[in-house]
């Protein structure tokens, strides 16, 4: 490892924040190096110190943070001690960065061309004209169509994917020897994310820069990075070649992280995802000994007395882990099967939607949506942001008034306005929301929140017994009943929110991205809880998520929405087996759930003018034809109520390789 030159080396780095006079360590004893042309993934949940690491490398730590020990060397410069001018000299040329939130990372009042040219000018001495020409080259290189046109625009006129490409173009403008990518795809839709990841993969082959790719998404980074480093609670706990780390995990946390991500090998009853006990400790509340020991089932006295150091895993050259028992890691989690309840009757529908439509001004958010949900069934709803899935759930909930349509609950018409619904139907339809931060009223105690739900929804007197039973049902320890929401972790808040929804024995619970704001290790616990409750209470779910993996795991049937339209609906099995809609296909490829290589297909007619008459997906569809622009697609009927809204026949859709009849204009 010492033979090849090193582009960046981090040695014994320790960083702490000072808050209210207390020193809180956020990073401890971090050492690693990256060689030119190599890509290292930094993976960890929120609070593990990833962002602090990026800020330390780039010399932009906030004022209340300080590097307490260690060095970071980039091109002979120690960025932990360098001043602004020293750092400026290496920025752009030696070290560059792509940040998250592409929308905010571009100057809103400067044209794209100027911003890219500015990056060129800052890194090489050339004339303004040359810089402009070079900027156009860069935009072409990051696969931006019509660079001339894009260069004249302002950031707000670009899509999220385009904005991220521009940021990447600026980062590579000075051919940096180290490129730090800080969650570059967070907030992008799955299909766009796949495109950006592919671009990064291509650029790294071209540039030979050392890449540090920070992400919380283990699966995503394993596609582009040959090495990965797993962070937990401010410590580097495992590092090694990606394939090796995934195949021969040497730390219980890594193994737990891998097994709590829903994958095709899981089954929600027989082989459910295995939640990790507890939560990531906050800085300042670190346990003694190994940071993972409180959540580890193998923890011994040794583990709780001293933090193990990073040691090479036996029989490997470059794989190291900070665990006393690396050989046990693989068995660190066990999943507890759930006994499956009786299957639901075929015609016992809890919810029937007919022709629900909703517009906000000129924007169609729900376009003639119809479907049914059986008792005890889970309908998963996937689609990117803006596809109208949340609006649809809010229409069913009575929080948003649809323009037209019929909702039936247990076969009886349900008023679209919540104030006209009977208390019985109000009780029957409840909702679990996305953000744990917003779901509970901060001025009430958990007891008050659940008590109100019992008295309103169950229409029963609130007794300590009932409250405790409700809390026990969502595995919320009793001591939390007298706490305020801000004293709970994200996962605990979500448990309270679920308990609130279940206070009056609901028949349909609308779950609007209930796990997407949670850490991976906490997600699994909520998914497990939802499955168990469904089985015990015979409740139906409408489960909304942008994460196809989670939906596949939980849902019996899946609906795919795009720009307010239901493009496809069918049983999970049928959709994953195919034939499926080209959009569902793109989502599946992007999520890499099919296990194969993920290479997003380019759109066939990117500049197509989509009208009211066109297929909504035409402009982004890799298989678009002339008819897709001119006529609305028919609904193709498959087995088990499988419906696909596409001009291609089921037969054609079965063969994704079929060349499109329209030539692709470059």
């Amino acid at each position: 490892m010492t033979h090849a030159p090193v582009a960046i080396s981090v040695e014994n780095l320790a960083v702490a924040y000072v808050r209210k006079g207390r020193i809180l360590p956020v990073l401890q004893d971090i050492s690693f190096s990256v060689r030119p042309g190599e890509a290292l993934a930094i993976v960890g949940e929120s609070g593990c110190g990833k962002s602090t690491l990026a800020a330390s490398i780039l010399g932009v730590l906030p004022g209340n943070a300080q590097i307490t020990y260690g060095t970071i060397r980039v091109a002979g410069l120690d960025t932990t001690t360098a001043g602004f001018e020293e750092l400026r000299a290496v920025r752009g040329t030696k070290i560059a960065m792509v940040s998250q939130e592409p929308g905010g990372a571009l100057n809103p009042s400067m044209t794209i061309g100027k911003q890219v040219a500015e990056a060129v000018l800052a890194t090489r001495g050339c004339s303004a004209t040359e810089a402009r020409a070079r900027a156009l080259e860069l935009l072409t290189r990051v696969a931006i169509r019509e660079p001339q046109n894009v260069a004249r625009r302002y950031p707000h006129q670009l899509s999220g994917g385009q904005q991220q490409r521009v940021l990447i173009a600026m980062a590579v403008a000075g051919d940096p020897s180290v490129l730090v990518l800080d969650e570059p795809t967070t907030g992008l839709d799955a299909t766009v994310e796949a495109e950006v990841v592919e671009l990064i993969g291509r650029l790294r082959r071209e540039t030979g820069a050392a890449i540090i790719f920070i992400s919380h998404n283990l699966r995503l980074v394993s596609r582009v990075c040959e090495r990965m480093a797993i962070f937990y609670a401010g410590r580097l706990i495992e590092i090694g070649p990606s394939a090796e780390v995934i195949a021969n995990t040497a730390h219980p946390y890594t193994n737990a992280l891998l097994s709590c991500l829903p994958s095709p090998s899981h089954d929600k009853f027989a082989n459910p995802v295995a939640p990790i006990q507890g939560e990531v400790p906050r800085p300042g509340e670190l346990p003694p000994g190994c940071v993972f020991s409180p959540r580890c089932r193998f923890a011994t006295d040794a583990c709780t007395s001293a933090q193990p150091s990073l040691e090479a895993v036996e029989g490997t050259a470059d794989h190291r882990a900070a665990c006393y028992y690396p050989e046990k890691a693989e068995g660190s989690v066990t999943s507890i099967p759930i006994e499956r309840g009786p299957a639901s009757a075929d015609d016992d529908y809890v919810l029937e939607l007919e022709h629900i439509s909703k517009r906000f001004r000129n924007l169609v958010v729900c376009d003639d949506i119809s479907f049914k949900i059986k008792r005890g069934e889970t309908l998963g709803l996937v689609g990117e942001s803006g596809s109208g899935k949340s609006t649809l759930a809010r229409c069913i909930a009575g929080l948003t008034l649809p323009d037209s349509g019929i909702i039936r609950l247990n076969g009886k018409d349900l008023s679209l306005r919540i104030e006209r619904r009977s208390m019985a139907s109000v009780r029957a339809v409840q909702m679990v929301f996305q953000s744990p931060e917003n779901t509970l009223n901060p001025s009430f105690s958990v007891r008050a929140i659940l008590g109100r739900a019992i008295s309103r929804l169950a229409q029963k007197a609130v007794s300590p017994d009932r409250l405790e039973k409700l809390a026990e049902n969502v595995r919320l320890p009793q001591v939390f009943l007298d706490r305020r929401p801000r004293q709970l972790s994200g996962g605990q808040k979500q448990r309270v929110a679920i308990a609130r929804a279940f206070a009056g024995q609901p028949e349909l619970v609308l779950c609007d991205e209930p796990v997407s704001a949670l850490d991976t290790s906490v997600q699994a616990g909520i998914l497990y809880l939802l499955t168990r409750l469904q089985n015990e209470e015979r409740v139906s779910y409408l489960f909304i998520s942008h994460d196809l993996g989670v939906v596949r795991y939980l849902a019996d049937r899946i609906g795919v929405m795009y720009l307010g339209q239901m493009l496809e609906i069918g049983t999970s099995a049928d959709i994953f087996a195919g034939p499926r809609h080209p959009y569902a296909d793109a989502l599946l490829r992007a999520s890499s759930l099919d296990g194969g290589e993920t290479s997003p297909l380019p759109a066939a007619m990117p500049d197509a003018q989509v009208t009211e008459q066109s297929c909504r997906f035409a402009a982004r569809c890799p298989r678009a034809m002339a008819t897709c622009i001119s006529a609305p697609p028919p609904v193709r009927e498959g087995e088990n109520g499988h419906q696909i809204r596409c001009h291609l026949t089921l037969e054609q859709l079965c063969h994704p390789g079929t060349p499109t009849p329209v030539s692709i204009e470059a």
């Binding site: 809010r394 909930a397 009575g398 929080l399 919540i418 104030e419 619904r421 208390m423 109000v426 339809v429 409840q430 909702m431 929301f433 996305q434 953000s435 917003n438 779901t439 509970l440 009223n441 901060p442 001025s443 105690s445 007891r447 109100r452 739900a453 309103r456 929804l457 001591v479 009943l481 007298d482 801000r486 929110a497 609130r500």
Partner: protein
Amino acid sequence: MQENTMSLTQTPAEKLRAERRQQRAFLLRQLFGNPGFLLGAVIILFWCLVAIGWHLIVPYDPFATGITMPLGAPSLEHWMGGDDLGRDVWSRVLAGTADVLSIAPLATVITISVGTLIGVCAAYFGGAIDNLLMRSVDILLVFPPIIIALMIISAIGASQVTMIIIIGFFGAPAVSRTIRAAAMREANRDYVAAAVMRRENNGYILLREILPNIEGPVAVETTIRFGYAIFAAASLSFLGVSLQPPAADWGLTITVQRIYIQVQPWSTLGPALALASLVVAVNLVADRLRKVLATP
């Protein structure tokens, strides 16, 4: 750690109470540990006590003429000298406190209640109601309040009650904007949606769910508006449209005495400094309160 040892001996309800006590103690430490806040609070307290009991502490009758030489210079007996009629300026400054402080607090109560009501309703009901309320507020905010107040007072005449009402209502639009923004943040949170899904009535949602969570902005606005109410009351009496001589009111005294500043500045400087100390003190308190309540 502390929490664990406490939970052994206390019931949950006791624990919650103890925790609230701790919170309150922490908040008070944050406020009174700040020299600016402390100074401001002491000055306000001083003037409030003076407003209530000025007749017990004035060295001379503030309305009696000929106590000093007309426009007499400050001396040991008369700290701020005398005015044109030979009245003791310091006594008149003390007596004038009551006039300012009888209008400002009540006007602030009106400002805050009306402004909060408008803001919360606009935020929660949204749509047409929000539009109507906020456009009206926009229009009201554009007009120079002093000018409109002048017109209203000259049309309906000045009295303490009209002054309180006018000053109270003119502050409300600005408050409603701030409160609306704060209430909007709360109204868009999912716990409000959860309450709607329990079919709670609007009164419950506004008063029990939303209002407790905007206490911070309301408290900050109250102190700011109290400062503005003093500002407005003093300015209107300076313009001579509110109280009439021989009232000892600070603004009015400055109007009457300012023609003598080249002879004896203290008869105007006295009430001017008194007024300045009061508004600056209110500002010190408001400033600290805003900082403490902004950081969770």
